[in-house]
């Protein structure tokens, strides 16, 4: 990563105003959003929206043709262009024709996208933003940091300073008073303006209508007072039918600001009356700017299902730490990364795509059902294809792809690491690696990996066999977790095999966009794990499990390596995560945890891949409860711990901050133990408590259950 990008992250995470405001907002947002959706079937609603938006996106030409015909029949003038320059020229031409001196604008991200204000100003036309947040950042000479709340990064003190300069009077920091100042200042601008510019939240093809959603009432004034109205509409805003508007209006305010409905929604169909009785001049600009190219891309077309609610920003554990400006000047957050890659250029997303930790929180709330992390992975993949991997990563992956060399190095590391180790942790790393142990200690590499220890565990001869897929962390750092798993399965009458040829699941390469490397890992593992006939392939690492159940298939598909697909699917069908398998065994009566044990209070951390890809969250809780633990839920139990595999090494300054929040939420429960199902999360959280203190034990569910095995019948 480039130094100035790293610097911007450093500045953001150390900006207490920013992280304070965003942190508070994101916490309240989750609660309020849930309340706003009470009594509604969000899954059903978003399925409708995704389908309707996808339909429009896959028929863009038809939508544009219908919209144009219908809007023109009502008297609007419609202009369509792929080229942002032509869009700006057209608006300037309309302005000149009507002798426009001043423009008032309501919020439009499309106008931000083409830097319209600067263009008009350069051509002698005064442009006034009227959305309070947009006006604030216009006065400050900044760009929006959030698409719904553009000035969320600013404090009332900063706003007061800006307004004081504007009205030439020392103002207090009283927020209602500041809002009143804005009302008075902007009122005269509204009344004097010759042209109003808006965006649109929706454009309805069958009626030629545009829909504007606001809270302040500025769009109503912008579309009422000036005689000329220009609506700048990105063509992803199309819906086919008028009845498609209601579902979007059901979701947009709830997802954006947790409101049932915004104060104002305006549905404008053709030009209406001006205040002097004349007919308004209404120009609707349908802006493409690579959107139709996006629609033709089988992977990225789903990004056009976005309704611009910003909920992917609001739930993102990274966004709430760094804010929008680290992402760039226009579109920010998860969806912003994708839009920047397209509307700007792929290269612009090179740095910011690396901010995504792939936790999947955004996919749970997106009203357009967009798989944002998956699309960001696709950007990574295309960047790697275009530019190749950085040299250091190439070197690492050439090692990872050679199992003997890779495992040999891990064994060597257990010896080399010794002088730095105390109590099973690496607490400080030398020089350039020091960042990695800044906020958490790393586990020492085990003196004897699981693969060696396994040979000493005598296996019962059973009809039912399971292949254990350890993954690198359990194999080389936490072999005791593997031993615990073997004990439990043996108790249930399952023989465990450990195929020696198994290797890295490919996650580090895959999540860096190196799909060829990941697919190579896939082939090695498929061969190893399917070599002998087994009923299950079981793993105690959710990231590994997801690799076996989902990612190998996707890797082969995206590379067109269809030969391996049947076996990848066969492996996927056999693979199960530890908690799901053991819960099944308990339900079948093959393992019985003795009731009546009281082991005290525990809290549970949901790992991203387990919760959001495998949809497993009740099972480990049920097992821990049956074992005798009382579960006290923590706040944001399913928010990422900041590990994200190699993420914590690439962006330790972000990873460390996310971890601190997780540690805080764990501590607040008062529980002295936290359980989880992922050795990666154990590494992160255990390492965090080792550095920060706090006396909380961090355990994998598999270990806690194995400890109660004496109770198991």
């Amino acid at each position: 990563m480039k130094k100035d990008f790293k610097d911007s992250i450093e500045r953001a995470v150390n900006n207490a105003n920013l992280t304070g405001a965003l942190g508070k907002f994101s916490e309240a947002y989750k609660v309020n959003r849930a309340k706003a959706y009470e009594g509604m079937d969000f899954e059903a609603l978003r399925s409708v929206i995704a389908e309707r938006k996808a339909h429009a996106a896959s028929h863009l030409e038809q939508m544009a043709a219908d919209f144009t015909r219908n809007a023109e029949a009502l008297g609007a003038k419609v202009f369509q262009s792929n080229d942002p320059e032509k869009v700006k020229e057209y608006i300037l031409k309309v302005a000149r024709e009507h002798n426009v001196k001043t423009v008032v604008k309501s919020k439009s991200m499309a106008s931000e996208e083409i830097h319209l204000n600067a263009y008009l100003e350069k051509n002698g036309i005064a442009v006034g933003e009227t959305d309070l947040g947009e006006w604030i950042i216009q006065l400050a000479g900044q760009t929006p940091s959030h698409m719904v709340m553009p000035a969320i990064h600013m404090t009332k003190e900063e706003v007061s300073d800006l307004f004081s300069k504007e009205v030439d009077e020392r103002l207090s920091t009283d927020i209602p008073r500041l809002v009143e100042v804005a009302r008075n200042e902007l009122r005269s601008k509204f009344l004097a303006a010759d042209m109003g510019i808006t965006g649109a939240n929706l454009a309805v093809a069958e009626t030629g209508s545009i829909v504007l959603v606001t809270n302040e009432g500025n769009a109503r004034l912008v579309t009422t007072l000036p005689k000329v109205h220009v609506a700048l509409v990105g063509i992803e805003k199309f819906v086919e039918k008028f009845s498609d508007v209601a579902p979007v209006l059901n979701a947009l305010p709830r997802s954006a600001t947790a409101q049932l409905l915004t104060s104002y929604v305006s549905i404008i169909s053709g030009p209406s009356q001006n205040t002097d009785g004349s007919q308004k001049e209404l120009h609707i600009i349908l802006m493409d700017n690579r959107r139709s190219e996006m629609a033709a891309d089988p992977k990225f077309r789903q990004a056009l299902q976005c309704i611009r609610c910003g909920s992917c920003l609001n739930v993102c554990p990274i966004f709430r730490l760094v804010g929008g400006h680290v992402f760039g000047k226009v579109y920010t957050g998860g969806i912003g990364t994708i839009l920047t890659a397209w509307f700007d250029e792929l290269k612009q997303s090179e740095e910011i795509q690396g901010l995504c930790i792939q936790c999947g929180a955004c996919t749970e709330v997106c009203p357009g059902k967009i798989d944002i992390p998956e699309l960001i992975m696709e950007i990574r993949r295309r960047l790697v294809k275009e530019q190749g991997l950085p040299l250091i990563q190439q070197a690492i992956y050439s090692v990872v792809n050679n199992r003997r060399l890779f495992h040999g190095m891990l064994r060597a590391a257990s010896v080399v690491g010794k002088p730095l180790t105390s109590g099973g942790f690496l607490r400080h790393l030398p020089l350039f690696l020091a960042d990695l142990t800044d906020k958490r200690s790393l586990p020492a590499i085990a003196a004897k990996p699981f693969r060696d220890r396994f040979r000493k565990i005598k296996q019962p001869q059973c009809k039912e066999k399971a292949a254990f897929y350890a993954g690198c962390l359990i194999d080389f750092a936490y072999p005791e977790m593997g031993e615990a798993l073997v004990k439990i399965l043996n108790k249930a009458g399952i023989e465990v095999l450990f195929p020696d040829e198994q290797t890295c699941c490919g996650a580090p390469a895959r999540y860096s966009g190196a799909y060829e490397v990941a697919a190579g890992n896939g082939v090695d593992n498929i061969e190893a794990l399917l070599a002998e006939e087994v009923q299950y392939v079981v793993s105690a690492c959710p990231t590994c499990t997801v690799a076996l159940t989902h990612e190998f298939i996707r890797d082969f598909e995206s590379l067109g390596q269809t030969d391996w697909l049947p076996q990848a699917r066969n492996l996927a069908a056999k693979t199960v995560d530890f908690s799901t398998l053991v819960t099944r065994l308990v339900h079948e009566g093959r393992l019985t945890l003795q009731e009546g044990e009281q082991l005290g209070s525990i809290t549970y951390h949901d790992s991203c891949h387990l919760k959001r890809t495998l949809h497993v969250s009740a099972q480990p809780r049920e097992l821990l409860h049956k074992a005798g633990y009382a579960i006290t839920e923590m706040f944001e139990c399913d928010t990422c711990c900041g590990m994200g595999g190699s993420y914590s090494m690439k962006l330790p300054e972000i990873s460390g901050q996310i971890l601190q929040r997780k540690l805080h939420n764990i501590r607040k429960t008062g529980a002295t133990m936290v359980a989880m199902d992922c050795p990666g999360c154990v590494m992160q959280i255990r390492g965090g408590f080792d550095q920060a203190g706090g006396g909380v034990q961090v355990r994998h569910t598999v270990e806690l259950l194995a400890e109660q095995l004496h109770l198991v019948r």
């Binding site: 907002f25 809270n215 109503r220 004034l221 008028f242 209601a246 104060s263 929604v265």
Partner: protein, 184 residues
């Protein structure tokens, strides 16, 4: 339906009143205008946009009896008015919203520029939800459809909810049973 509407509208900061007859509603509005200090000076006018409620009412006489009240809506009158009065066509119970065909510009002027918006609605025009309203409205004949839910609001400074940015600071909803159907 009315109870849900009232509850949701009040939850977003609207004031809701209900009357059986037009006469009672008119009496309330005139009293309200006086209480709010309506006068025949800029900044204190009341601007009342035409609608079915005014059918059969002698507007000239009403204006003469109530100094500051105007029915001829201009940009200037609306900008100088403290109170704007208009009628809505439907209401939405589950969000507490009013829905109005505001293609006629005076409807928009009196509901955007003054700091208080008084909105009349027939109690029987309250529908269950947006979907029901969308079945009733036709954008080809209603060229400017406005959904109004509570007063104008912002949270753009430090996420603190503040009422009355560019639009009305108060929304006073007057439900009239006699004005279109009987409320269920």
């Amino acid at each position: 339906m009315y109870e849900q509407f009232r509850c949701r509208a009040e939850a977003v900061g609207a004031e809701v009143h209900r009357f059986r007859t037009n006469d009672e509603a008119l009496e309330f509005i005139l009293r309200f205008l006086r209480t709010e200090g309506m006068a025949n000076t800029p900044g204190r006018y009341a601007a009342w946009a035409d609608g079915p409620f005014l059918n059969g009412i002698d507007k000239a006489q009403l204006a003469a009896e109530n100094p500051g009240l105007g029915f001829e809506i201009s940009r200037q009158l609306a900008a100088d008015a403290k109170i704007g009065i208009s009628e809505a066509d439907w209401a939405v119970a589950d969000t507490g919203s009013l829905v109005a065909d505001q293609a006629a510009v005076e409807q928009r002027l009196v509901s955007t520029l003054p700091s208080i918006h008084v909105a009349l609605i027939g109690t029987g025009q309250i529908l269950a939800d947006k979907v029901a309203v969308f079945e009733q409205i036709n954008p080809l004949t209603s060229r400017y459809i406005a959904f109004i839910t509570g007063p104008s609001r912002t949270a753009d400074i430090e996420r603190v909810l503040t009422i009355g940015v560019h639009g009305p600071k108060r929304l006073v909803i007057v439900c009239v049973d006699a004005l279109g159907g009987i409320a269920p």
